[in-house]
């Protein structure tokens, strides 16, 4: 009996330490990535991979929020529209090529040229063109004054080899076999796994050479399987957001929940123009009725077990310019909601299609609140497929949407406000001159006080008209094995190269 117990314990330990024995960090993602080219998609998972496989010119320290030299050793605005950066001369791509100014120019010129229509390039479209000034010096010329230039370069501007991005089909190739300069090198994929290994010739810069040699990203679509894999030791990290707050108790004593307050905000979006063929929400009273019908406190405290923070702004209050006191707030008051619906001519309510792609229980809660005041909804669910729902949104075909926006991890109100308010954003479902002017003006000045005033105006106008109804700012959970030391990042860019064995 003792012998069998010993064997069983050995098997359990071997299983639990499987990743550690092979020096492999096993990470679980919840959905399949269609491409690994972060410029081809607005999908967060591709951006996470990009930051582990590639590098940006400038690095933003996730703890201090300071910008640090990385591929670029220093930078300077030589004029309001021209940024000159000096580059390191020891940065190697995973294919052995030395990074030069040509690679930076080829990547960023491709982003604003051939790649301009792609979902992941929008944040860098402030760039007009990039010139090579020397082997290790580039100049980036902006189309207009851009207060978030450094921020966006640090977060999105991953540099590809010119030899690949410059040739036909190069971007597609990078989407399947990414080649970067980053801490982990892509070695292969298959069987729902992406496999990476430490890039020993990594220049390090502001990042860190991974302590763990191998990284394997697994796609595990089912949450119960993700948790079970964490408990058996097959998985070391379940990425943040891929574990629901109500599941944290299931982690037992082999793993622990790690939480991070993130930039992502959740909101209800209306078709304020009637472009979807549904004109209920063109009436501000109907939008206000929805605002009064939803109990945000209950969603955060009960449904999310406190993993969130109620917000009233169409941006995250931690972003620069996002001022809570400028927002008009709507108390939870179903009676008032019904009164407003009656005033708008819908005493018996109406039925409408609602769309969502993540956090189904939140969408269902919103459906429940709306039904209580007479608005019946049919859910069109696009589980995890943001790219698809974004296309339908952009086409103006969605009457009511419950979704979220991660602001591309940019800590400036513009990253959240533009997409809601500026004409052409994918969530733009109303046009308002005051808002558009304020948002545009805020993008054309670097005067901090002026920017605050402009965003206050935009927030006030947006919330009084309820063009979008903010719900809460997120706090996400990751599941982490007790064998691993690692924490999720507030900017939702998970840095697996920082993980260490305990």
């Amino acid at each position: 009996m003792k012998k069998w117990s010993a064997i069983l314990i050995a098997v359990l330990l071997a299983s639990a330490l499987a990743g550690r024995n092979t020096d492999t960090l096993n990470v679980a993602f919840e959905r399949t990535m269609l491409t690994l080219d972060t410029y081809a998609t607005s999908e967060r998972l591709a951006l996470i991979v990009a930051h582990n496989v590639g590098d940006t010119l400038i690095h933003r320290n996730s703890e201090t929020n300071e910008f640090e030299p990385h591929i670029a050793t220093d930078w300077e605005f030589v004029s309001p529209l021209e940024l000159v950066l000096n580059l390191r001369d020891d940065v190697l791509f995973h294919n052995g090529e030395l990074l030069t100014a040509e690679d930076v120019a080829a990547t960023l010129n491709w982003v604003v040229g051939e790649g301009a229509g792609l979902a992941g390039t929008g944040t860098l479209q402030w760039i007009d063109h990039v010139d090579v000034l020397g082997t290790h010096q580039v100049s980036i010329t902006a189309k207009a004054l851009t207060p978030t230039a450094i921020e966006t370069l640090a977060l999105i501007g991953v540099i590809y080899p010119a030899s690949i991005i410059g040739r036909e089909g190069g971007a597609t190739e990078l989407g399947q076999h990414p080649v970067g300069t980053g801490p982990y090198r892509f070695v292969g994929s298959g069987n729902n796994q992406l496999r990476f290994e430490r890039f020993d010739d990594y220049f390090v810069g502001a990042k860190k050479l991974p302590e763990i040699e191998h990284l394997v990203i697994h796609t595990l679509p089912e949450e119960a399987s993700r948790i079970a894999s964490l408990l058996t030791g097959d998985i070391d990290i379940v990425r943040s957001g891929a574990i629901s707050p109500d599941q944290q108790r299931a982690l037992g004593n082999r793993a622990r929940p790690e939480a991070a307050d993130i930039l992502r905000t959740w909101f209800v979006q209306f078709d304020g123009t009637g472009s979807s063929g549904v004109d209920y929400f063109t009436d501000v009273r109907v939008r206000q009725a929805v605002a009064h019908a939803i109990n945000k406190d209950e969603i955060v405290n009960v449904l999310l077990s406190g993993y969130g923070r109620v917000i009233h702004t169409p941006c995250n209050p931690v972003q620069y310019g996002c001022q809570e006191d400028a927002a008009v707030q709507y108390e939870y008051n179903p009676a008032k909601a019904r009164e407003l619906l009656t005033e708008a001519g819908y005493p018996d309510g109406f039925t409408v299609e609602v769309y969502g792609y993540r956090d189904e229980q939140v969408v269902q809660a919103v459906q429940g609140y709306l039904e209580a005041v007479g608005i019946k909804t049919n859910l069109n669910w696009y589980g995890g497929q943001y790219d698809v729902v974004a296309q339908i949104l952009a086409a103006g075909d969605i009457p009511l949407y419950v979704g979220s926006w991660g602001s591309s991890s940019v800590y400036d109100a513009s990253a959240a406000m533009n997409i809601h308010l500026e004409i052409g954003g994918e969530f733009t479902t109303a046009t308002n001159e005051v808002i558009d002017q304020a948002v545009r003006a805020a993008l054309q000045t670097v005067d901090l006080n002026e920017r605050l005033e402009l965003y206050a105006t935009a927030i006030q106008e947006s919330t009084s008209n309820v063009y979008t109804f903010p719900l809460y700012a997120g706090r996400v959970l990751a599941g982490v094995s007790n064998e691993v030391e690692w924490q999720p990042s507030p900017d939702e860019i998970e840095r697996y190269y920082l993980a260490t064995w305990r």
Binding site: L8, N192, E222, A224
Partner: protein, 304 residues
């Protein structure tokens, strides 16, 4: 036998053509395919340009024939999202699903056929009761829940088998058992009832009266004659399993056709969806054809 096979092949071809037309028309069901190909903010002129470039302005029958000509050669075009050839995306998935389905069918044959035979021979006995319990449980238990229970028991609590993924034989065991458990009840019940039909026939009584060994009576004379409906059922179920086992593949993160189908449908990746629909349907047609031929070989009555 040749006429019989030819007849079945012609039937299969007609069905295949009908299925291919349906799969082709999928492209036009959701929305204007040129609009679907274009970026959301594309102008009407840009959409028209795409329509011409991809030949979407040609008459539908012409488009179908050129699509079918390429499909026959395994060319389904490029995935709308990854821009990879659909065949390249599909091939490893087909292999994975085939492996899982074949293992599940093997388990089914190993468990359901002997159990069904013994249940019929010992009608009303303990094994018959056990077989009934397994059949009811297999039909009543949601496959999703059964898979998760196996994970909890064999992976989390006992630590014997991996929770998910593909690579070694150990990865195959839990999804294979889960899938087999959904196929076993029908196969076992069919085997049992077919055996019951056969063992009450006069020729079996005669064979027993002649003093033939019991194993010979059971396996040579009874089981062979009872095999026809079972082989047919297994053939059809194997075809259905090859078309994708969405739930099992999702629970165990098995990188097969079913999991790809979910992802392709939710992303509206129509070339991939078309290829999967065509493949899944063709597999059912071919496995039915194969089952018909096998039955013809096993049971001479069928081919005359």
């Amino acid at each position: 036998m040749t006429n019989y096979v030819l007849q079945r092949v012609v039937q299969a071809l007609i069905i295949a053509v009908l299925i291919s037309v349906t799969a082709f028309m999928l492209l036009f069901v959701a929305k204007d395919p040129a609009r679907a190909l274009a970026p959301p903010d594309a102008s009407t002129a840009e959409v028209e340009l795409l329509r011409q470039r991809f030949g979407l302005d040609r008459p539908l029958p012409v488009q179908y024939l050129s699509w079918a000509a390429l499909a026959v050669r395994g060319d389904f075009g490029l995935s709308l999202f990854s821009r990879q050839p659909v065949t390249r995306i599909l091939s490893p998935r087909i292999v994975a699903t085939f492996q899982l389905a074949a293992f599940a069918i093997l388990l089914t044959v190993l468990v359901a056929v002997p159990l069904g035979v013994v249940a019929a021979l010992r009608r009303g006995g303990a094994i018959d009761l056990l077989a009934s319990i397994i059949a009811v449980a297999g039909q009543a238990m949601p496959i999703f829940w059964f898979g998760l229970m196996l994970i909890v028991l064999f992976s989390v609590n006992l630590g014997w088998l991996p929770v998910s993924g593909r690579g070694t034989f150990r990865h195959l065991i839990l999804p294979g058992i889960t899938l087999a458990f959904s196929v076993i009840p029908l196969t076992m019940r069919l085997t049992r009832s077919a055996m019951l039909d056969v063992i009450n026939q006069d020729y079996i009584r005669t064979a027993t009266a002649k003093g033939l060994p019991r194993t010979s009576v059971i396996w040579k004379h009874s089981a062979r004659n009872a095999a026809t409906p079972v082989v047919l059922a297994l053939g059809m179920q194997f075809g259905a399993l090859l078309g994708g086992t969405v739930v099992t593949e999702t629970v165990f993160a098995w990188p097969g056709i079913g999991e790809l189908a979910v992802s392709a449908v939710t992303t509206a990746d129509l070339p991939v969806v078309q290829a999967i629909v065509l493949f899944a349907a063709m597999v059912v047609v071919l496995s039915n054809l194969a089952a018909d031929v096998i039955v013809g070989l096993v049971d001479p009555r069928v081919r005359y």
